[in-house]
Subunit: 354 residues, 5 copies
C-alpha cells in the first residue's frame, strides 16, 4: 500500500538545501552509468565515482549520466556541485515524495516524474525520477535500484535506430518522459482488466470481497491519478515554455506525449466513474438479495402464524366445544388450514411477494 505521507519530519528545522534522504532506504549500492553520444558514435562508462563523470562535461557530444539509487547522498552532492546545480534541486532529488514538476533554472531544467512499478503481486508503487536537462547533458536520478525505467531508451541509443542520436539532449529527455508515460498505459491495461473481471463478478456472484476489490481499485486509481495529473502541466510547460534548451523539432514530440498524458488521465477518470457505478450496483444488488431473502422468510412465517392460531383454538379444553364432537371436525380443520394456506400462497404469488 502506498503510504499517504513520507517521513518528512526528519528534515524539520534544517535550513533549505540540506541534503537529507527522505523515503525508503533501499539495500544495495547505487549504480552509475554514463553514455556519451553524437551522430557518429556512442561511448559507455560505468564509473565507480561521480568525479569521473566530468570527463564529458564540456565536449560537444550529448552526455547522459544515469544514477540508479539515490541513497548515497555524497554522490548526489558531488555530482551536483560539479555541474553547479542549485542546493534546492539537490534537496528535491533526495526527497522522494515530490509531485511531478518542472523548474527552469536558466542553464538547466529540473524535471521530476514518477515511474510506476509493480510491487509484489498486484500493488502498484511509484518511484521518483529526477531529470536534469542542460545544453549538452541529461542527468537522471532513479529512486530505486530494481528495474531500469530507461532500458528501451538505452537500447535505441546503442542501436542508433531512429533519430535519437542525431537530435540533442532535449530529445533524449523527451524519450525518457515518453518511456515513463508509455509505462502508465501498462498500468492502465492491468486496471482495465481488473475492472472487467470485477464487472463479471458483480453480475455473477457479488460478495463482500467484490466490495473490497472495488475499493482497492478505487484507491489505486486515486494514487495513479495523483501521480499523473501534475504531469499534464509539466509536459505542457515543457512544450510551450520559452526555454532555449528545448528545440522546436522536439516540441512536436512533446505535444505527442502531452496527448498521451491526457489520454491516461481520461482513462483514469473513466475508470473512476465506472468504479463508482459498480459500487452503486453492488450495494443495491446486495440489499436487493437480502430483501428477497427476508421477504421469503417472512412470508413463510406469516402463512403459518394464522394456521397455528386455528389449531390452537381446537387445542382449548372447554367442556362445551361442539366441533370437537363432530365426526369430521378434525378433517374439516385440516382442510380449512390447507385452504387458508393455499389461498395465502396464491395471494402472495399474485402480489409477486413470493
Amino acid at each position: 500500500m502506498p503510504r499517504l505521507v513520507k517521513q518528512r519530519s526528519k528534515k524539520s528545522g534544517l535550513p533549505p538545501g540540506s541534503l537529507v534522504h527522505i523515503g525508503e532506504v533501499r539495500a544495495g549500492e547505487p549504480r552509475l552509468s554514463v553514455i556519451s553520444y553524437d551522430e557518429t558514435g556512442i561511448k559507455e562508462l560505468h564509473p565507480k565515482d561521480a568525479g569521473e563523470c566530468l570527463v564529458f562535461k564540456d565536449g560537444p557530444a550529448v552526455t547522459w549520466i544515469d544514477i540508479e539509487g539515490i541513497h548515497d547522498i555524497e554522490m548526489v552532492r558531488k555530482l551536483g556541485e560539479c555541474y553547479g546545480f542549485h542546493p534546492l534541486v539537490l534537496e528535491d532529488i533526495l526527497n522522494t515524495d515530490q509531485r511531478p514538476k518542472m523548474e527552469d533554472y536558466g542553464e538547466y531544467l529540473y524535471i521530476v516524474l514518477r515511474m510506476l512499478h509493480k510491487a509484489g503481486d498486484t500493488r502498484v508503487v511509484t518511484e521518483q525520477i529526477s531529470i536534469l536537462l542542460g545544453r549538452n547533458f541529461v542527468i537522471s536520478f532513479q529512486e530505486g535500484i530494481e528495474g531500469d525505467a530507461f532500458n528501451s531508451v538505452r537500447e535505441r541509443l546503442r542501436s542508433g535506430k531512429g533519430r535519437i542520436r542525431g537530435l540533442g539532449a532535449d530529445y533524449l529527455a523527451y524519450s525518457m518522459t515518453d518511456a515513463i508515460v508509455d509505462n502508465y498505459f501498462l498500468a492502465l491495461e492491468q486496471i482495465g482488466e481488473k475492472v472487467e473481471t470485477l464487472e463479471d463478478e458483480l453480475v455473477a456472484n457479488p460478495s463482500s470481497k467484490t466490495l473490497h476489490k472495488i475499493h482497492e481499485l478505487k484507491r489505486e486509481t486515486l494514487f495513479l491519478r495523483k501521480a499523473v495529473w501534475p504531469l499534464r502541466e509539466v509536459i505542457s510547460n515543457l512544450e510551450r515554455g520559452e526555454s532555449p534548451l528545448i528545440h522546436d523539432a522536439t516540441r512536436i514530440y512533446l505535444r505527442d506525449v502531452y496527448d498521451h498524458t491526457i489520454q491516461v488521465i481520461d482513462t483514469i477518470e473513466t475508470s473512476r466513474d465506472m468504479l463508482s457505478g459498480m459500487l452503486d450496483i453492488y450495494l443495491s444488488s446486495i440489499s436487493n438479495r437480502m430483501n428477497e431473502i427476508m421477504k421469503f422468510l417472512t412470508v413463510i412465517g406469516t402463512i403459518f402464524i394464522p394456521l397455528t392460531f386455528v389449531v390452537g383454538v381446537y387445542g382449548m379444553n372447554f367442556r362445551y366445544m361442539p366441533e370437537l364432537q363432530w365426526r369430521w371436525g378434525y378433517f374439516a380443520v385440516l382442510g380449512i388450514t390447507a385452504v387458508i394456506g393455499v389461498v395465502m400462497i396464491l395471494y402472495f404469488r399474485k402480489k409477486k411477494w413470493l
Copy 2:
C-alpha cells in the same frame, strides 16, 4: 461493451513514429477511393495501390483520398511518405484509441474524430476517423471497413448540389465533420427513446432489470461523452485558429457545427442528470415496495400472535379453570379473539399501517 483500454503495451519501448496498429484487427481488405473535383467536374478512382493516388497531388483540383480500414500498415506508410506527413501523424492514425484532437503542422492540419456505429443490437461503439487537410487535398482514414461514414458527402459531391464543389478542401473537411456530428444526433435519439421507455417502466413496474438498464445507459452516455467532449475544443480551434488552410467562408459553417456539438454535449449532460434522478427513484421505489410488503406481513403476524396466546391460555390443563366449565366459555373466547382481531385491524388502519 467498449473496452476501457486498448492494448497499447505492444508499442511500449518502440521509438516515437513507429508504425504499429493498435486496436481490433478487422477482417477484409482496406478500400481506397479517390475523388478529384472542382467546380466544373468530378473524377472518381478506386486504385489498388496507394502509389496511384499521387497523380492528382499537384493539380489545382481538390483531391479526396478515403481509406477504409487501416490495418494495412504498408499502405498508410506509403501514402504518408508521398504526402510528407510527420511520422507521429502516421503513428496516431494507426493507434485507434486517440481522443478527438486537431494538430496544426503548417502545411496540413491533422484532425482526429470518432464516428459512432451500432454494434449488434443495442451497443454503440466508436470508430476513429483521421482527417488530413491540406491546401488542395483531404485524406481520410476510417478505422473500420463496415459502413461508410461519408456516404452523404460523397453523394453531394457527385450530384454537385449545394456549394460543396465550388468551395475548397476546407469545406470538404467541414462537411465530413458535420456528417459525423449529425451522426451523434442519431445516437442521442436512440438514447432518448430508451430513457423515455425506462421512465415508463420505472413508474409501471420497476424490477432489477430496470436498474441494470439504467446503469447500462449511464455507461453508454459515459463513453459517448468521452468521444464528444474533446470535439468541442477541436472544432473551436478549427474555427478560431489562424491556419490559412481554413477560409473565412468556411469558418461560419464551423461555428454551426460547433453549436451542434454544444447541443450534443448539453443533451448528454441532461441525459446523465435524468438517469441519476431515475436511479434515485428506482432505489426509493424498490425500497418503498419492500417496506410495504414487510409491513403488511408483520401486521398480519402481529395480529395473530396475541390471539394465539389467548387460545393457548385455554389449552392449559389445570384442574381448576372455572371458564372451561362455562356453558358459553368457548364461544366467549372465540368472540373475544374476533373482537381483539378487529380492534387491532381498525387500529392499524387508522394508523395507516395497513
Copy 3:
C-alpha cells in the same frame, strides 16, 4: 413532458443550409404581422404574403416583422432571401431545438431565445424564438402560434408610452428579450409555490406521491435551467459586444436584463438545492416512519412470544405436573403472564422502544 431529443435524424445527410422544419408540426396557418414606427407615428399591416414585407425595407423608420408559426418553410425562405440572411440562419430558425445563442453576421445579429409556455395543467414547455436585428428592422420568428409572447411590447409600441418609439431597433430587440425574461419569473413563481406546498406536505404527510412531485419539480428545473443558462452568455455578449447595431443607451438596459437573468439562474439553483434537501428529508422521514412501525409491531410480538411459551408449558400432557393440581395454579399463571407482560412493557418504555 419536454422530450429530451427532437427528431434531428430527418436532416441527416443533407447539405448545410437545407431548410427542414425540425420539431412538432403545429396545426393552423402561420401569422405574419408588420409594424413600422418612428417617433412620430406607427403603421400596422397583416400581409398574407412575405413579399409584402419589403415595402418598409429601406425606409428610415424601424420595421418589426413578427412571424408566429414557422412550419411554412416557403415563407421563411422568401423573407430570408429578400433580407439576404445566411442559409445557416434560416436553417437554425427552422430547427426548433436550438440553445439560446447570439451570432454576429455583421449586417445583422441573429439571436435565439426560448419562451416558456404552460402546456396543459402544470407542465412547462419551451418555444424557440428567433430574433434578427438589423440597422432598421427586427424580424422575429415564434415557433408556436398559440399565445403571443410579445403582446406587451406591441401594446407599448401602439400606445407610444415610455421611450420605446424614440429609440431604435436595438431597443425593440431588448424589449422583446426583456419580455421573455420577465416570463421566466412567472414560471419561477409557480415553481416557488409548488416547492412551498411540497414543504408543507413533507412535514404533514409525506407519501410516495410527494417523492414523485419532488422528482418532477427537479426535472422541470433541469429543463428550465437548460433554457436559461446559455441566455446569460447571450445577453452578456450583446451588452459587451462590439456590434455597432447596439447603441450605448441600450446597453444600460441590457445590463438590467442581464441582472434579471442572473437572478433567475440564482433562484433555479436555490430551488435545486432546496429540492435536494427535501428529497433527503423525505427519504429519511419515510424510513423513520417505517422503522417506527416495524419497531412497534416487533415489540408487540416480542411481548407475547414468551407468554405463549409459558401457557404452552401448562398445555403439556405429562402425568406428573404438580402445578396442574394446585387450587390456584391457573390464576397464578395468569398473574405471572400479566406481570411478565407489564414488566416487559415498562422495560421497553424505559428504553424508549415503545
Copy 4:
C-alpha cells in the same frame, strides 16, 4: 421562512423603469433623515418631504440622506428625479429581491447590499439596502423600517470619533458596507452556536427533531450564502474599479471589508461541510440504534420460538407418548428448555448479538 421567489409578476409587461414596489408591504410611514457634515461640524434634519433634501445638494459638505421604508413610491421618485438617477436605478431600489451588485453610472455608483435581521425567535431574514454614492452625497434606501442598520455609523458621525468626518462620501459608503458585513458575523456566531449545540445533541440523544434542526440550519446557510456570495464581487469591483468616486485612501479600507467577506464565505462553507457531516452521523446513528433494537427483539423472539415448539410437542394428545408417563418427564422438559435457552443466550453473547 425566506420566500424563494417574490411576486415579480406584478411588473410583467410594464416598460423598463416602471416604478412598482415588489416585496412585503410594511406598515408604518417611511422615515427620512438627512445628515450633512464636514470636518468642522455636522447638521441633522428630519424632513417630512423629499423636496427638503435638496438644500444640501450642491454644498461642499458631504450629505447623507437615509430613507427607511421604500413603500412610498412617490418619495423615491421625487428624490430620484432631483438627483437625476436613471429610471432603472429607481426601479431596482423598489424591487426588493435584488442580488447584491454594484453599477457604475459615471456620476454616481449604485450599490445593492442585503442586511440580515432576526425575525421572530430564530429565523434570519434579509432586507435590501440600496446605496447611491455621488461626489458629495450618499443616499441610502432601507427596505424595512424596523431597526436601523446604520446606527453605529450615525453615532460615529455625531461623535466625530475616528477619521469618518474628515474623509469623503466614499468613506461613508465604506463605513455602511462595513457595518453590514460586521452584522454577518453576528449571524455567523448564532449559527456557530447552534451548530455546536446540535453536535452535542447528536452525540447525546439524536431524535428526528435533530434532523429537522440540521436541515433548517442548512437552509439558513443556503440563504445566507446567497446573500453573501455576490457581495464578494461587489466589494472587489469597488476596490479595484476605476471610478474616480472612490479615493485611494478608501480602497485600503475596502480591501479590509473584502477580507471580512471572504472570511464570512469561508465560515459559511465550513458550516455547510460540517452540517453535511452531521447529517451523515445522524442518519447512521439513527439506523444503528434502530438496528440494535430490532436485533435485541429478534433475539428474544428467536430464543422462545424453539422452546415453544418443544412444549408444543408434549401438548400433543397421542395415546402412546412414553415420556408423558415418566415420573420426572415434566421436570426434564423444563430443564431442557432452560438449558436450550441458556445455551442460546450464551451463543448470542459470544457472537456479540446480544
Copy 5:
C-alpha cells in the same frame, strides 16, 4: 475542538482600526525578543518595553522583533506607531481569526499565517502568526505564548550556519514561512498514521467508535484545509509579486515553499478522498453484518414456526383423530418434524441463506 466562529461581535460598531483583541485570552505575559544581525555578527535583546525596539530601527543590520502573546494591546499599538503601520494592520494582528493573506503596503508587507499546535492529546489547533516584512526588519506576532514556532530559525541565526545571515530580511521571512509549512508535514504525518490505524480497524473490527473517529479525522482535515488553502495564494503572490522587498535570490526559495504547500494540499485532498472511501466501507460493512445477523435469526424462527404448527395440530382435542390412536403416531410426528427441519436447513444452506 476548533471553534467555528470567534467572538467578533465585540468589535461590531467600532470604527475600522479600533484595536480590540479577538480570540482566546491567554494567561501569562507577552514575551518580546529582538535579534539584530548582519553577516559579521548577531546581537540579542529581551526588552521589557516595546520602546526599546527602536534602537535598531534605522541601522543597516536586519532586525527581527518577535512578540509571543498579543493580548497586551498597548504593546502592539506602541510598536505599530513607531514603525508607522496602518491601523488596519494592527487591528488584523489582534483579530486572531484571520485567514492566511498577504498585503502589500509599499513600505512593508503584511503576511498572516497560521501555525499548527497540538492541543491536549490528539487535537490540532491553529495559532495566528503575523509577519511584517520591511526593508531591514521583520516583526512577527505570535498569538500564543506556549511553544515558539521559530526556534529552529533562531538557532540557525545564532549558529550562523547556512546563508541565512548573509541574505536580507526577506530571506528571514521566507525561513519563518518555511518553518511553518514544515510544521504542517508533522500534522500530516500524524493524520496519515491515524488513517492507517483506522483502515486496519475497519477491516478487523468496525464499531460505531470507528465511525466517530472517521468523522473526527474528516473534520480535522477540514480545518487543516481551511488553514492551508489560502496559503497557496499567499506564497504565490510573494513569489510572483512585484514588491522590491523580495529579492530575486529569495524568490527561488519561495518557489520551493510553494511546492511544499501544494504537496500539503495534495495530501490533505487525498486523505479526504480516502476518508470518504472508508466511510462508505464502514457503512456497508456494518449494514452487511447486521443483515447477516437478522438473516440468521429469521431463518431459525422460520424453521420452527411450521414445526410448531405441526405439533399444534396434534394438540387439538377432537374426538375423532385417527392418528392419535396409532401406535407409532407420536414417533412418526417427531420424525416428520425432524425431516422438515433438516430439509429446510439444507434448502437454506443451498440458497446460501445460512
